[in-house]
């Protein structure tokens, strides 16, 4: 079935997430939740002496958008410096998802980015996703 939000790649990451599972003695880690969906995400990183990400694992549960975005971004950040990881912005996730995200789902989409940035910074990122420029509802329904 053709569905823009739940396109095949996103469903594939949701059903069979990459880099999913526990990590022994991570160098960096962070945990956060999205109360809207009840999503939970725990990200663990191993970094080398130059603060470059060697390995990433995540655990958690939640909706397809939050879990797929965590899986997709986890593939991208290996080899990245923590400084650069801390500077990633929302486009990193939204480009990977490649779909319009409604205002109510923006927190789902960006939870993994928030937790990854928090792990890189070493404290919970003082950063809330701004939903102001989220996609408007499609379908011509009167607002």
């Amino acid at each position: 079935m053709d569905d823009a939000l739940y396109r095949e790649e996103i469903l594939e990451h949701y059903k069979r997430p990459h880099n999913f599972g526990p990590m022994e003695k991570p160098d960096r880690e962070s945990f956060d939740t999205n109360p809207l969906c009840g999503d939970e995400l725990h990200v663990m990183l191993k970094v080398d002496d130059g603060d470059v990400v060697e390995e990433v694992r995540f655990e958690g549960h939640g909706c397809a958008i939050s879990q797929a975005s965590a899986s997709m971004i986890s593939d991208e950040i290996k080899g990245m410096k923590l400084d650069d990881l801390a500077r990633l912005d929302r486009s990193a996730i939204l480009d990977l998802l490649g779909i319009d995200i409604s205002a109510t789902r923006m927190k789902c989409a960006l939870l993994s980015l928030k937790v990854l940035k928090s792990a890189a910074i070493g404290t919970l990122a003082d950063w809330e996703p701004d939903t102001a420029d989220a996609a408007r509802p499609a379908g011509g329904a009167p607002l």
Partner: protein
């Protein structure tokens, strides 16, 4: 007998003129029948003035409309107007009791009994009170079928330390209708006060607050076909009279001097500032709308819808229903989970078909933890729903399974 199901099509809810709308979220907020919208507009267009103390004819009209609204609301649930306090919502009504009754009646070493299935609005105020005075919470467990145990209530009450038993009349997640008369009677026999949260009960089943006998009974207008911005606290007169005011300011006073104030009589003592006047008028029209249909017929109709929903949902592989197995044990709502998809994704895909359901923790995070769930999807029913709406829900769930099922 003509059922509401048959007349449901003739009910006039303007919003349902939106194409294909299948509204199954009345437990979050009800849609508004035209008679309620008309009452709201009629008041604001023709009778609007502030209430109390106006001497010109228009102000007296506004007073009359407001008083009639309160009387209609009180009569609908078998309460006295003077013991019917208008608040902003049910949450504020509970907070009124927590702040006004709580500190003088709950102290260090005392206890408050709640069920595990309470809405956050009937948890957090009591948690805060307990923290403030050094009291403890005791949680009535819900079993696998969503039921509480009166034996456990008796155990909790046995040591005489319980000062308040606060229980939902109908769970907004499990749908369970609790035996509130029994709960209230046992609490009173043990010297504890009682508060019943009737937000999910009043629009859907016959409620008589006098017969239930709770010290406090709260509910909200916007789930009962009325507007937002109005909630109700029905209290027993001797309790209300013994309580200090909650919010203070205008309207709730008898006299004010430079040094002090004396307080107004009930119910105005607890209604500081300009009340929701138009909302009271409109909620009066809303309860008249329900009374006109007949609350027993409304209940019968929603029980039919609920039974049909249970039978249709049970037949879906990988779908788990929460709460009591029988429609007669439930209010008009069904929460469920699907093995293959998260509730938020379910609700999103249902939304594409204009099937409006709620997904999340439903402001019951402790219950979700108990159930071992992060969230559920909830379909909830009202007088305008028919079995066609359930068929639309089931068809749309088929689409979810198509997308997410392996």
């Amino acid at each position: 007998m003509t059922t509401v199901s048959q007349t449901a099509l003739a009910l006039d809810f303007p919003i349902l003129e939106r194409e294909r709308l299948v509204y199954l979220d009345s437990a979050a907020t009800s849609q508004k029948p035209r008679v309620v919208l008309d009452a709201l507009e009629d008041f604001l267009a023709h009778h609007n003035a502030n209430v109390h103390r106006g001497v010109y004819p228009l102000a007296i009209e506004a007073d009359t409309c407001f008083n009639i609204g309160r009387a209609q609301i009180a009569a609908f649930v078998g309460a006295q107007p003077a013991e019917t306090i208008i608040t902003k919502n049910a949450t504020e009504a509970i907070n009124l009791v927590r702040y006004s009754w709580g500190p003088g009646n709950v102290g260090a070493g005392d206890a408050i009994v709640l069920t595990e299935a309470e809405h956050h609005s009937n948890i957090v105020p009591w948690q805060q009170l307990c923290e403030e005075v050094g009291a403890e919470l005791r949680w009535l467990e819900v079993d696998d079928e969503g039921m509480i145990s009166l034996d456990q209530l008796d155990e909790f009450l046995a040591d005489g330390r319980v000062k308040m038993v606060a229980v939902t009349h109908c769970s907004n997640v499990l749908g369970t209708i609790n035996p509130v008369e029994e709960v209230v009677a046992r609490a009173r026999a043990a010297g504890a006060a009682s508060l019943i949260d009737g937000s999910q009960a009043v629009p859907h089943m016959a409620v008589n607050v006098d017969a239930i006998g709770a010290d406090f009974y709260v509910w909200t207008g916007h789930k009962a076909y009325g507007p937002t911005g109005i909630g109700l606290l029905h209290g027993r007169r001797e309790m209300l009279e013994a309580m200090p005011p909650f919010l203070t300011g205008g309207d709730m006073i008898k006299t004010v001097s430079f040094e002090q104030a004396t307080f107004n009589e009930l119910p105005f003592k607890f209604e500081a500032g300009t009340p929701p006047i138009a909302e009271t008028v409109a909620l009066g029209a809303a309860v008249d709308f329900i009374a006109g249909l007949g609350i027993e017929r409304v209940r019968a109709h929603e029980e039919v819808i609920t039974a049909y929903a249970l039978s249709q949902l049970e037949a879906i592989p990988g779908l788990t229903i929460q709460g009591p197995p029988l429609a007669r044990q439930r209010g008009g709502l069904v929460s469920f989970t699907l093995d293959c998809a998260h509730p938020h994704d379910v609700a999103e895909i249902l939304g594409r078909d204009q099937v409006c359901v709620r997904a999340g923790h439903h402001c019951t995070q402790p219950l979700m933890k108990k159930l071992g769930l992060g969230a559920t999807t909830r379909a909830s029913f009202a007088v305008h729903n028919s079995t066609d709406d359930i068929d639309a829900l089931v068809a749309s769930l088929g689409r979810v399974i198509e997308i997410f099922g392996d």
